[in-house]
């Protein structure tokens, strides 16, 4: 193999294999769908948990905001942590980077 000119080098380094197969595309799409499914599941579980919590809190109190107030008074740190977790989860789930 004689590599004396720029053209020879281009010839030598050119891509010869043809790497276009549908299997590769299918694998990429499959992995993409898997990630999206996982994301949807997490979102669904989070929504259900939040809904359940809301129902329990409302059912246990005479006024709608009473549970929040009492929770804040009884345990302000836990309440803050719950807020951080809630807001963080929302930000993470909507970021599209999972």
């Amino acid at each position: 193999m004689n590599v004396s000119t720029e053209q020879d080098l281009k010839q030598l380094l050119s891509y010869n294999d043809r790497l276009v197969d549908d299997r590769f595309t299918e694998v990429v799409l499959h992995r993409l769908k898997k990630t999206q499914r996982m994301r949807q599941r997490i979102l669904l579980i989070g929504t259900l948990c939040a809904f359940l919590m809301a129902v329990i809190l409302v059912a246990m109190s005479s006024t709608i905001f009473q549970p929040v107030f009492s929770f804040t008074i009884k345990s302000p740190i836990l309440f803050t942590l719950a807020l951080i977790v809630g807001v963080g989860s929302c930000a993470w789930l909507t970021s599209n980077d999972i």
């Binding site: 193999m1 590599v3 080098l9 294999d17 790497l19 595309t25 694998v27 990429v28 599209n96 980077d97």
Partner: protein, 180 residues
Amino acid sequence: MNDRALIARVVVDDDQHAFATLVRNYQQGIRQFLRRLTAGDHALADDLAQEVFLLAYKKLSNFRAESSFSTWLHSIAYRSFLNDRRKPHYTHEISAELIIAEPTITVNPEQDILIERLMQYLSVAERTCVTLAYSAGMSHQEIVVVAGLPLGTVKSHINRGKQKLIDLVQQSEPQKRSTS
């Protein structure tokens, strides 16, 4: 349908058929580029190529068309390769002087395999710049965008890498003759 229209459909409508078309159109270039960067580790190159397309899907809304879509994908591929290289399993480049003593390096009839194997004797920057310039046919400015290196550095990597490859091919010629 051109790339812009396909990208718009992916970003706006989350159209996976449009994304599949983009994958089909660009997998050749990206997979070949990664095969050269990984010096012929086809399994790793294909894994990385899949990651590149998944990452591209996530970041597609950030694509500003300041460079071509191919250049943008190649820069993702290059960064993915560098990230993977930081992992402990990666083997380092071999010094070019070792080629004569290395028994596994013989000229393979498959030209792509030969080049992929020779790439391990080049530094990562050299193999990136040489591959982008001679195999992907990119301009020096495009290579600057992909590799994030100054223009002068890109040019010197190309020249050094090119010279190393020429030397390596010429060194492997006598080996080929002596083995045949």
